[in-house]
């Protein structure tokens, strides 16, 4: 009968060998426990690594777990090797990605409508980068394709789930448009056409 300690130890070994985000379900099946229990153990492990300030941390992506380096050590890692930073996304790509991430599942025309410009090319680029994927079709007229973000997106942005995206409310507050609303005035209230 595996104890909590041996299960957690097994999970560490599995994550180490697997490299990619390890599905809690697979790990749970291997140990003969259920997924929620396995997730608990993974989270416990993650806490332990954090509390002990280890150079390797555990990251959760979409119910999967993976070893990553601690962000504090980035500069030190750079002295052994220069990690290639992925090419930055263009402003257009970021805008489109933000729309897809926050409104998913979303159609191309919805994206176009927010940006006020056709986004086909940009969307294509994001799909090629593996950040955006098709998510079936909308039931609207013409059954347009729906788009959503991928697991690679979560990994690239270090997010557990899409719910962890920077809060949309904070952004709205930051824009301060709401105050302006009160100043709306009607400049011209009447025009006497009979004169």
């Amino acid at each position: 009968m595996p104890t909590k300690k041996t299960i957690k130890s097994a999970f560490e070994s599995m994550m180490f060998v697997w490299g990619e985000p390890l599905d809690a379900k697979i790990a749970a099946d291997a140990m003969g426990i259920d997924k929620s229990e396995a997730s608990e153990y993974f989270k416990e492990l993650r806490r332990e690594y954090e509390e002990q300030g280890r150079g390797i941390r555990i990251r959760e992506i979409n119910g999967k777990f993976q070893f990553v380096t601690s962000e504090e050590n980035f500069d030190y890692i750079r002295s052994v090797c220069t990690p290639v930073r992925e090419r930055r996304l263009s402003q257009a790509a970021l805008e489109t990605l933000a729309i897809v991430a926050y409104k998913q599942p979303v159609t191309k025309s919805e994206i176009d409508s927010v940006r006020g410009i056709k986004s086909d090319r940009v969307l294509e680029g994001l799909m090629k980068k593996g950040l955006v994927e098709e998510r079936g079709r909308s039931s609207a007229i013409g059954r347009p394709t729906l788009y959503g973000t991928t697991e690679a997106f979560l990994a690239n942005f270090d997010l557990k789930t899409v719910k962890d995206l920077p809060a949309i409310e904070d952004i709205e507050d930051a824009i301060h448009f709401e105050e302006a609303k009160t100043t709306v005035e009607i400049r011209q209230t009447s025009l006497d056409l009979e004169q």
Binding site: V17, W18, G19, E20, R57, R59, Q66, F67, V68, T69, S70, E71, F74, I77, P83, R85, E86, R88, L89, Q91, A92, L94, E95, L97, A98, I99, A101, Y102, S113, V114, R115, G116, I117, K118, A155, N156, F157, D158, L159, L165, P166, I168, I171, E172, A174, I175, F177, A180, K181, T183, V184, E185, I186, R187, Q188, T189, S190, L191, L193
Partner: protein, 245 residues
């Protein structure tokens, strides 16, 4: 191959419009339509002067602005005294929505920069663990000896073939030499014909025979010799034709 050259910083018509509004320090809810419209049109004109392809999307917004401008001139009080909705409301809503996502895009960019500090070990090649297990040699001595013999036999055969190949290469180089030696031989025989077998030395192997034959064919082609054969597998009689004739 197409080249995309980006000359202006505006990602779309909304981007440009929001920039102009912010620049003029206007409230998005209270756009001075006339002022903004002329600025917007001026900007599009500028883009054209710089040979920038102005997308249709920019023109659509220009049309919307002009429409708004005209609507602003009309009274907004209906017959029953009710005030109509501000015609700018829809555009304002769109611009706010756009600005929101522009801000979110900036937040995402920050998040991405932060995430880039965490490194992941790339998945290693797991085939040593998952691939086919190594094959064991389940052989007794006899099998082993037989296998070794087969190997030696194959090796010897290969060497033999290699030797023949090398020789064939060498002999082929000497067709010209062979031709002159045949010629000398035939000249000595004067007008008498010579049997083909006389051209071959007793120790000549298959390779030498072939080279001799090929040389002879070439001589026939260039009119230096003629041959006659009375029937299949009979002697080939070769006669020399001196070039003077």
């Amino acid at each position: 191959m197409s080249y995309k050259v980006k000359l202006n910083i505006f990602e779309g018509p909304f981007d440009l419009l929001v920039y102009l509004i912010e620049n003029a320090e206007m409230s998005i809810y209270d756009i001075r339509v006339s002022e903004i419209t002329s600025q917007y049109l001026r900007h599009i004109e500028m883009m054209r002067e710089q040979d920038v392809m102005v997308g249709a999307d920019f023109l659509v917004l220009a049309a919307t602005l002009i429409e708004l401008k005209s609507k602003m001139l009309l009274p907004r009080i209906k017959a029953d005294g009710e005030i109509e909705e501000d015609p700018r409301a829809e555009l304002a809503q769109k611009l706010i929505e756009y600005s929101k996502f522009k801000k979110l895009a900036a937040a995402l960019e920050e998040q991405m920069d932060f995430a880039a500090l965490k490194l992941v070990k790339p998945k290693e090649d797991l085939t040593p663990y998952t691939g086919e297990p190594d094959e064991y040699l389940l052989l007794d001595t006899e099998h082993f000896i037989a296998a070794f013999k087969a190997f030696i036999y194959k090796k010897r055969k290969n060497e033999e073939i290699l030797y023949i190949q090398n020789r064939a290469g060498r002999e082929r180089m000497s067709v010209a030499a062979k031709k002159s030696s045949i010629r000398r031989f035939l000249q000595k025989a004067k007008d008498r014909f010579v049997r083909f077998r006389e051209l071959l030395s007793p120790e000549s192997d298959r390779c030498d025979k072939v080279v001799t034959f090929v040389s002879l064919l070439e001589m026939i082609k260039s009119g230096l010799a003629s041959v006659r054969q009375s029937g299949n597998f009979k002697e080939i009689e070769v006669t020399f034709k001196s070039s003077e004739r």
